[in-house]
């Protein structure tokens, strides 16, 4: 029961912080699940995230279900998934009529711009925090760099999942 409560809390924090795209949830999951709680090893988390990325649906929801299941079974999956969507749904439930007005509000717009720059810091941090653990050899570095360059040079027109699959197949031969 305590485990479920902690799981719920962790994923609620992840749900609050997931601002600006699914990849932003990765450093949050790494911080909460691998760092603060030690529920999973980094490699386990990375595998679950890879699957979460390749299956339909938002990465935050997929990751919550998967990590929750891995840590505490079916109840864990349900609790983590509920936790990750609860912050957004609560905000919408209470504040949906206000949000349209907030869009026009200049103060809210300035604050948002700051938040987005904060997310940018988090992404730089995540590149290091995730990358430095994921990359263990020169070959692996070149694979990660290759994925990055592919996305940069094609301006993201190659579907990210194709890049993930390609690296997976390459991994089959190399590792």
């Amino acid at each position: 029961m305590r485990l479920l409560l902690q799981l719920f809390k962790s994923f609620m924090i992840i749900g609050i912080g997931a601002y600006g795209g699914g990849l932003v949830t990765i450093p949050l999951i790494q911080h909460e699940i691998v760092g603060a709680r030690g529920w999973l090893l980094f490699d386990e988390m990375a595998s679950l995230l890879a699957i979460a990325q390749m299956t339909p649906g938002p990465i935050a929801v997929n990751a919550a279900t998967f990590v929750g299941f891995r840590i505490a079974g079916l109840a864990g999956a349900a609790v983590a998934t509920f936790g990750v969507v609860l912050p957004a749904l609560s905000i919408l439930f209470i504040g949906a009529p206000l949000l349209d007005r907030m869009k026009a509000n200049r103060h809210a717009a300035i604050f948002r711009e700051g938040l987005q720059v904060g997310v940018l810091s988090l992404l730089f941090y995540a590149t290091w925090a995730y990358g430095s653990v994921a990359v263990g050899s020169l070959v692996q570095f070149f694979m990660a760099a290759g994925a990055f360059l592919t996305l940069v040079l094609t301006e993201g027109k190659v579907h990210p999942i194709l890049v993930v699959l390609a690296c997976g197949v390459l991994g089959l031969f190399l590792f």
């Binding site: 749900g15 911080h31 938002p58 990465i59 929801v61 300035i110 579907h159």
Partner: protein
């Protein structure tokens, strides 16, 4: 109440909760790759095919969905469901879009998790995880290109990095602190701009 208007006006062919659930369930089931990939399919289904929502409303809800934290797809489902059938419609649509992800992942977890120790599977997933490292770096690159175009934003970004790397602040707190700092810095810049152009507040 604006949220009731659609069902009242369209009483001759009221959209049922089951229709809402099924539409979002299908979208949740077949969309790979996050909120913005889903947006294109949502628009096709809701605006073009079914005509439930106008293009203008769709774009407006899309921008509201990105305003708040959480998965864009879920937020959009909530807002559109709310437009179609009020709060209960909103919860129906959100539940519909989440359920397929939940079931698919459960299915994979039940049947595939034991194979994760298999060396071949491990090698494949290791490769995938390296691609994700590249993706995170790419997201940083895109965000950086968009936001690092003035000195204030660079300062905020640097402050965020110091909080994360040096002070080891919780990531969520670091993002919110950056937002607050940004507000403080840019509000002053805004005031100066107002004085120089002689325009008052809105």
């Amino acid at each position: 109440m604006r949220e009731e208007t659609f069902s009242r006006n369209g009483s001759e062919d009221k959209i049922t909760f089951l229709q809402i659930f099924w539409t979002y369930f299908k979208i949740g089931l077949f969309t790979l790759g996050g909120g913005f990939a889903m947006a294109a399919i949502l628009r096709h289904e809701l605006v073009l095919k079914r005509g439930w929502i106008s293009d203008y409303e769709f774009m407006s809800e899309m921008s509201t969905a990105t305003l708040i934290p959480g998965a864009v797809a879920v937020n959009m489902a909530y807002l559109q469901g709310r437009r179609l059938r009020g709060k209960r419609g909103a919860l129906t649509a959100s539940f519909g879009v989440i359920l397929p992800s939940f079931l698919i992942i459960l299915f994979i977890a039940l049947f595939a998790l034991p194979y994760f120790q298999n060396p071949r599977v491990k090698a494949f997933l290791k490769g995938c995880s390296l691609a994700i490292a590249g993706q995170i770096a790419y997201a940083a690159y895109i965000f950086g290109r968009r936001h690092l175009n003035n000195i204030q934003n660079m300062a905020i970004c640097a402050a965020g990095l110091v909080l994360l790397f040096v002070f080891r602040v919780h990531p969520v707190l670091a993002v919110v602190s950056a937002g607050a700092l940004g507000y403080f810095l840019c509000r002053r810049r805004d005031k100066r701009a107002e004085i120089s152009t002689g325009e008052g507040g809105v």
